[in-house]
């Protein structure tokens, strides 16, 4: 069948040009806001607009419908200018019920637009949302005077539109979100084409459902077009993004395919040993889909078995990987030490979340850096690589894998819930654009005039990788201190000191194999440097760009390599009078910078399970900038 959806408006309304808009879709877990948001996002993307999105799920699996705990939100920031964050405050919020309004009103800009489903504001809903007995309806009682409120009985309109669809009430209600989407498409002058195509693919086999969805979508659009309540529409032109082919990608997706890419480029099988944990589980889910590419995923009995199985796989010649979050990282500590003294490749991915202990599983934080750096007994340095944005998860983990394989060392990769779940457009590379990863298994004795030396190092301090099954190179490795070169157990004092030194040097020498740190935004010499790492990238970048416009003499540099630091970091820091380090923790990078460079860097700390707003960073920069001391 064929439905003609036409997206050209029948009436003249004021069209506002604007360069970026933040829309928040907010409703009950059951209301399909995630899907709605993604359709809207993909359409914006196709129109060449830059975007950044962030989904927010309820902490409870599925809290009672209509309650505040049950609100599920999807946020999209799109525009004709470059977009670096999902946005701090909303221009438009769609609230399907009163709980959603309660949750999201605080982050709606004054004067912002509220599109409210009146059906979600009856007394029952108000009660569920925790409004006191007999409370007045916020849509009516003036609470929202400072906003532009569009009250629509979305439920009713959808039902009317679909009364002849032959569907049951439940299915009809499920089309609410398409009605909303239609309204927004009209409002932002977006074509429905893409969504129509998607619905056709998705429901091809269920024509009645398909029709219902298309009808709801269309009715929404028409509703916007016909009813007089909407006075303005918005037009956002395409962004000046670098030309190329783009896709939308979330951090955890990027992480997963980054690992696949690294393994393929290295010519190795990929093995993931993991135990589910929020917000890392999606990487396990994602990788387990790639069986056809030979990816082996092993859901272990716990995090210890997960990392141990990955160590075994690396030993056997695979790229061994383990993924987890804080509590799991804690459990992997001992085994990391083993991989370190074995000197086998291993990528340990920590998708950070709010701690300590179980903490805030669904919230974001950057508080595992010092554990990654020092959380092992004995002298046990490991390289650390951190991702800055959703798309950067791909490149950063690819780097982590490259370093691990080329230097025979376990590498810790840090991401966090914010970028893991957030998404952005990605000008993805092609296979041949990826840095080569050189792995060579040793197949002959490296000591012609004697026995094979499994711990004989090359100039970079790297030992050879030998696959069991290789004739003539049989050898034993273990967690006891090793004699230099032979790898035999040694209790010799000087040898121990030597091995501690050699293992540390090997990590230090990785600095020769990573790029220098460059100022990303602003001048190479300035009054204040904002030094960031990880997911604070978007907020810092936006803040710095805005302040540069305002004439501030500042700059932004962002660290991907946290151990070892890029060789030029010390030097670079000295080009600035002041250094500000914003982190979603109590000052962990700050601590490392102070200890290493003895400079009085300033910290900006936020430990709220939420990313920085641009404002928060701007304010702190200004304060520091103008502080005479």
């Amino acid at each position: 069948m064929e439905t003609i959806i036409e997206s050209t408006s029948q009436r003249k309304t004021e069209i506002k040009e604007t360069d970026s808009v933040v829309v928040r879709f907010s409703g009950d877990s059951g209301d399909g806001m995630q899907l709605t948001g993604m359709q809207f996002t993909d359409t914006s993307a196709l129109l060449g607009q830059d975007i950044s999105t962030f989904p927010e799920y309820p902490a409870e699996i599925r809290a009672p419908a209509g309650t505040v705990a049950g609100v599920s939100g999807f946020q999209v920031h799109f525009g004709s200018k470059e977009i670096f964050t999902p946005g701090d405050f909303y221009d438009v919020v769609v609230v399907m019920n009163s709980a959603a309004l309660k949750v999201d009103l605080p982050r709606l800009k004054k004067g912002g637009i509220i599109i409210a489903n009146t059906a979600g504001f009856d007394s029952k809903n108000l009660k569920l949302a925790g409004y006191p007995e007999g409370a007045t309806n916020p849509l009516e009682d003036g609470t929202l005077d400072n906003y532009r409120v569009y009250k629509i009985d979305i439920t009713k309109h959808t039902k009317d539109a679909l009364k002849d669809s032959g569907l049951g009430m439940k299915e009809i209600e499920r089309c609410k979100n398409m009605f909303v989407l239609g309204v927004l498409f009209w409002m932002f002058d977006k074509s429905m084409e893409f969504t129509v195509k998607n619905l056709q693919e998705k429901f091809g086999k269920k024509p009645d459902i398909l029709n219902a969805n298309l009808t709801a979508l269309k009715s929404g659009w028409n509703y916007g077009d016909n009813t007089e309540i909407f006075t303005t529409r918005y037009k956002i032109s395409a962004a000046k993004l670098p030309a190329g082919i783009y896709r939308n990608i979330s951090g955890n997706q990027g992480l997963a395919i980054g690992l696949i890419a690294a393994a393929e480029k290295a010519g190795l099988p990929l093995f993931l040993g993991s135990y589910p944990i929020t917000p890392a589980s999606d990487v396990l889910h994602e990788l387990s889909k790639y069986k056809a590419n030979g990816v082996k995923t092993f859901q272990a009995e716990d995090e210890i078995a997960a990392i141990c199985s990955a160590i075994g796989a690396s030993y056997a010649g695979s790229l061994g990987v383990t993924t987890t979050s804080g509590p799991g990282m804690a459990l992997k500590t001992e085994a990391m030490g083993l991989a370190l003294i074995f000197e086998v490749p291993l990528v340990i991915c920590d998708i950070q979340r709010g701690g300590p202990s179980t903490g805030l599983p669904t919230k974001t934080e950057q508080s595992d850096l010092l554990m990654a750096m020092y959380g092992r007994h004995g002298e046990a340095p490991l390289p650390i690589v951190a991702a800055a944005t959703p798309a950067d998860c791909f490149e950063a983990v690819y780097e982590a894998a490259r370093i691990s394989l080329e230097h025979m060392v376990p590498v810790i990769f840090l991401s966090d819930g914010y970028i893991a779940n957030g998404a952005e457009p990605w000008k993805f590379p092609t296979e041949d654009q990826l840095k080569p990863i050189t792995v060579k298994f040793l197949e002959e004795n490296n000591n012609p005039d004697g026995k094979f030396l499994p711990y004989k190092r090359d100039e970079r301090g790297v030992r050879p990788w030998v696959k069991p099954g290789t004739k003539g190179l049989e050898h034993r490795i273990g967690g006891l201190e090793k004699q230099n070169e032979t790898g035999n157990v040694s209790y010799d004092s000087k040898n121990h000191e030597l091995m501690v030194k050699l293992r540390a040097e090997k990590v230090e020498k990785i600095a020769d194999n990573i790029p220098m740190l460059e100022v990303e935004t602003g001048k190479d010499k300035a009054k204040v440097l904002i030094l960031g790492w990880g997911s604070t990238h978007g907020a810092i970048k936006t803040a710095v760009l805005e302040l540069l416009d305002e004439g501030y003499d500042i700059a932004h540099a962002h660290l991907r390599y946290l151990n070892p630091f890029p060789k030029n970091l010390g030097e670079l820091l000295h080009n600035f009078d002041k250094v500000l380090i914003p982190e979603m923790n109590c000052g962990q990078l700050l601590h490392l910078i102070k200890a290493k460079y003895l400079i009085p860097a300033e910290g900006l700390h936020k430990v709220q399970g939420m990313p920085f707003t641009t404002e928060e960073i701007k304010e702190k920069i200004k304060e520091l900038y103008n502080d005479p001391s």
Partner: protein, 346 residues
């Protein structure tokens, strides 16, 4: 793309080929010496190439084992050998992977990996040197030490009910359980052979004497004078006979095993015939170690209690990969990078 050489070594290897150049550092008289010797003795008969063997251990005196084998090997961390070995085997199913550990290593700190290992049934052989003590840490009781034992950490006697390793393994769906002892080389060799032949996880418990911290704890089973009365060597299809002069046997009355004197109206035909495929009977055999009714004192069974053929996880993983490959075909990396939904900006 495995570089594993054919599973048939050109010339037959010898025990010496399996002996590393490392000085063996167990105490004089330690039962581990015998176990090492028997393993090195029978391995050549299995025909596998030296380079395809990987011995993985945890920490403990027993876990020093891999250092003394001239194969590939890992002396890992306490209790984790089964998890590491699983990774090795899944990554490369062609390798011939063996796990070695102590009663503390495998059943105390390593207990969780141990039971999950049993249910997943990778084709790995696992030998537990049970000396009912923590040897390397100088003599604390272990989860197999009998209740009341006085050790460094229990000066007034332990209050822990021990595990029954056979029962625990079977309860965790072990597909192969055998028990042997350090002081019966022939029998040990036979059990190691049976383990090697088993397709799946083969668990061999070896009673091992620790002369320093738990001397002669298995003495009654190993000493000439008492061995015949205190042990019973079980074989598939054979009646359960034991005693100085093969004068005793085990009969089943209903579900209750009873010790009977042969002769006086009881003949071998009346005895329990061992069936190594009967799990329920295996559980009863396992419990011999625990019951001793006032009337009956039960001998300790040695031999293969139970074996069962079921799929190995590493093979299922490979089959799954192959079937999916066959169905969908490998996705080119470029396709993975681009995903399904892309748009172009000009």
């Amino acid at each position: 793309m495995e570089t594993v050489t054919e599973n048939t070594a050109p010339v037959k290897l010898t025990a010496k080929d399996f002996t590393s150049d490392q000085e063996v550092k167990w105490c004089p008289g330690c039962g581990d010496y015998s176990i090492l010797k028997q393993v090195q003795t029978v391995l050549p008969d299995f025909g596998g190439a030296l380079e395809n063997y990987v011995f993985v251990s945890g920490i403990g005196c027993s876990s020093r084992f891999p250092y003394y084998m001239a194969t590939y090997g890992m002396h890992s961390i306490h209790g984790r050998a089964p998890a590491i070995a699983s990774g090795v085997k899944i990554a490369n199913p062609d390798l011939n992977v063996w796990v070695v550990g102590g009663d503390g290593d495998l059943l105390s700190i390593g207990g969780n990996h141990f039971i999950h290992f049993m249910r997943r049934n990778p084709n790995i052989k696992i030998m537990m040197f049970n000396n009912e003590i923590y040897g390397l840490t100088k003599g604390q009781y272990s989860p197999t030490s009998s209740k009341g034992i006085v050790t460094k950490s229990t000066p007034y006697g332990s209050v822990d009910e021990p595990f029954n390793p056979a029962e625990l393994a079977l309860g965790a769906k072990s597909s192969f359980f055998a028990r042997t002892m350090d002081r019966d080389p022939k029998h040990m060799q036979a059990m190691v052979k049976r383990a090697n032949e088993h397709h799946g996880t083969a668990f061999v418990e070896v009673y091992q004497n620790c002369p320093v911290f738990n001397d002669e704890v298995f003495g009654i089973f190993t000493e000439k004078t008492t061995k015949k009365d205190e042990t019973i060597f079980i074989e598939h299809g054979k009646p359960l006979v034991f005693g100085q002069t093969e004068n005793k046997g085990i009969k089943l009355d209903g579900f209750k095993p009873v010790v009977v004197e042969l002769g006086e109206g009881v003949s071998k035909e009346d005895l329990w015939i061992h069936d190594e495929n009967d799990k329920t009977k295996a559980f009863i055999l396992a419990q011999f170690a625990d019951f001793s009714t006032p009337e009956h004192h039960f001998p300790r069974p040695f031999g293969l209690f139970y074996r069962e053929d079921r799929p190995c996880i590493e093979e299922d993983i490979v089959h799954q990969i192959e079937s999916v490959k066959a169905k969908k075909g490998k996705t080119p990396l470029n396709k993975i990078l681009s995903g399904d939904k892309t748009w172009t900006i000009v």
